[in-house]
């Protein structure tokens, strides 16, 4: 039989038309999907079921926080595909159970419209997993001490009205934070706390974060820039978090553009993913948050030097969590507090005077509302 006439054959199977180029290789959609799936499943090697001949096995519970952005949606798609294969294979067992947590995007940013249809699409496309949706303000319910913490953290200027709903109180707190950087920083802290508290309540031993490699590199640089270098060991590295829940980042070998490509060859994701809101080009640098600046930096530099940018997150992943003599951790973000005191000698008109012996860490005291930055 004569070979098929292909203008640009896929470099892997040589049997189909290549439709995209990734890492200098032209691939068809099937082979490209396999390539990405392989990269991610290799990161999931730690969650394997023992062979069937062995005795009873209870699949572990893993929590996947889903932002409905490209990255976490692709992660869900791939893990679903893996579980589906395990389920249909009579010789293998299902290694883990996936719980998907969606924090309602409209409660995080008012510019996000209702996502009901996306959520429905989600449940229809992936019917075998357990889905939970929570509003952002349920952080008060899941982390009961949070109300008091916020009061103390925000200081006397912040007037809390306990007669108000959780929703209004969270909005008031977020409104009291003046700079874009601190806002993003604290949102991330609160979201992490909510996800972790949910995972613990739900007895999930591991949280699978859907951060792309691009995002991890940006988080590394932003963490360093915000004085949170000490917590990079769990914020971007795979490992134990301060709350006894394992953090893993299975997308760490795949960058954002590659995940976009993956999404583009999966039509079933199109009615699930909420597209990113692009940062307008004309915004002044000083009005960006540090997280946004770093994401933009890694994305633009990554277009030219993808390897160098990927190497940033790989480098951060090599840091080793240190045992500390002073294991007190920040009441808010969970990082070690021990470091706040080490800052005498920096500023005489001390911003740190009040935080001596504080329960908040260096990074959190930088984002405190009363410290105008």
């Amino acid at each position: 039989m004569p070979a098929k006439e292909l203008t640009r054959p896929c470099m892997d199977c040589k049997d189909a038309e290549a439709i995209l180029t990734t890492r200098k290789r032209s691939l068809c959609s099937h082979c490209f999907k396999l390539f990405i799936q392989f990269k991610i499943l290799r990161r999931m090697d730690g969650h394997k079921a023992p062979p069937k001949i062995q005795k009873e096995y209870l699949p572990s519970k893993l929590l996947l926080p889903l932002s409905l952005g490209v990255s976490s949606s692709v992660l869900l798609h791939i893990l679903d595909w893996q579980l589906e294969r395990q389920r249909s294979n009579p010789h293998s067992r299902v290694a883990y159970q996936l719980h998907v947590l969606v924090i309602e995007p409209s409660t995080i940013s008012p510019s996000n419209s209702s996502f009901d249809s996306n959520f429905e699409g989600l449940q229809k496309t992936f019917p075998t997993h357990i889905f939970t949706r929570l509003p952002f303000y349920s952080v008060f319910e899941y982390v009961p001490e949070m109300k008091e913490l916020i009061l103390e953290y925000a200081g006397p200027q912040f007037a809390d009205d306990s007669s108000q709903s959780d929703e209004a109180r969270l909005a008031a707190f977020r409104g009291s934070v003046s700079s874009a950087t601190s806002k993003d920083d604290l949102d991330n802290v609160l979201l992490t706390r909510l996800v972790v508290a949910f995972a613990k309540q739900d007895a999930c031993e591991t949280i699978l974060w859907g951060d792309s490699d691009t995002r991890l590199s940006a988080k590394t640089l932003a963490g360093a820039a915000k004085g949170r270098g000490a917590s990079l060991t769990w914020q971007v590295s795979d490992g134990m978090s301060p709350w006894g829940v394992q953090f893993e980042f299975p997308l760490r070998d795949i960058n954002k553009p590659e995940l976009q490509q993956y999404k583009s060859v999966c039509p079933e994701l199109s009615n699930i993913v909420i597209p990113d809101q692009p940062i307008p080009d004309n915004i002044l640098t000083k009005n960006l948050s540090i997280d946004e600046l770093m994401m933009r930096y890694v994305e633009t530099q990554g277009a030219k030097y993808p390897g160098v940018m990927a190497n940033v997150s790989r480098t951060a992943n090599k840091l080793q969590a240190a045992g500390s003599d002073d294991p007190a951790s920040c009441a808010l973000c969970g990082s070690l507090v021990g470091n706040v005191k080490g800052n005498t000698g920096i500023t005489v008109a001390s911003q740190f005077g009040e935080s001596q012996g504080s329960q908040f860490c260096y990074g959190c005291s930088r984002s405190r509302p009363e410290i105008k930055s």
Binding site: D45, T220, L221, A225, G227, A230, V312, V348, A349, R366
Partner: protein, 414 residues
Amino acid sequence: MAPTLCFNCKEARALIIRPKNRHKLCRACFLEVFETEVHETITTFKLFYPGERVAIGASGGKDSTVLAAVLKILNERYRYGLDLCLLSIDEGIRGYRDDSLETVKRNAKQYDMPLMIVGYGELYGWTMDQVVEQIGKKGNCTYCGVFRRQALDRGAARLEIKHVVTGHNADDVAETVMMNLLRGDLPRLSRGTSIVTASGASEIKRSKPLKYAYEKEIVLYAHHRQLDYFSTECIYSPEAFRGSARTLIKDLEKIRPSSILDIVKSGEDMAVLVPGETNPNGKTCRSKAAAEDEAEAGGCGSQNGRSSGGEMAAMETQLAENEAAGSRETEIRLPQQPKPGSSKTQKPIKRQVMGHCERCGYISSQRVCKACTLLDGLNRNRPKTAIEVSASMDDEEISSTLARQMEHTQLTNS
């Protein structure tokens, strides 16, 4: 509108907005706060002991001029009992260094400190101008950095001084942290953040009393005290990673002024987390390799983000090749190896052992130190026809020439 009063004394009119925290201060309070912060840095980290002889690495630029001025004041005000002198390196860059050296000579008079100048030409047989002529404008900062490191040590040894202070400021340290994150160099990140670099093998201790001082505040301080400094930047181009890091830091400072300190803080915290760098207090770097390393980690502080991008492109190519090679490899696993989930288990880290360079006797982890290796490369390519002292010299002779040239180094009395 009534003039804003100083945040500190609440009496005088505020003239200066502090870049560090945007407090509005009067001139006198700003100068005092700046000096007190340096003093606090010095006492917190116990940088000096009474009676210590200290050489100030002076380039004539703003950082080292301010350092000299502040140290002189603090030494008198708080009775440190230090014996201060200036130590300058003449890289041999015409149109840049010759002019700045004039500034240093004036400073020596103004501050009444002895001055010593050590030249690359006399030490290595190569001025930077000649190096650049030979290897071009790219990558010459490596030569300059490696040479300067040794030159400062040799100059200090000449003066029988065991402590050199340099004008590295918070911006420089922050830049080093970001740069080493970008190029994935954790050991260097760890070393670059410590305020003191002492090493077991080297007699000479280095410290950075301006580690927590902002570049902008240094400029303001120099301006308001009307210090005599030289403000032209080095005419040769910076390294791309440092340039990229510098741009990033300028942007960060616009967003959140405390960022520079925050990066320094992150760097200090991360230093403790670098595998293989046991650095329990995070303040004093005991790494033996630090001595030969800091020159590169510190840079020359005169780059402003002009960059060719050559180094980043080179690293990109290298990483891409590594990845391509990785997919061609077959992984062979031994049966008893830990399961892949526990990928955190580390291979034993190869420790650097310090010895002395065979050629010049300078401390080095290698058989031949970096400076001699670089010199080898330079000398090999030096045109044989040129009339040069070192043109026909064998490699082995370099050490004796170096030693001889050191003999000629004079203590210049201004």
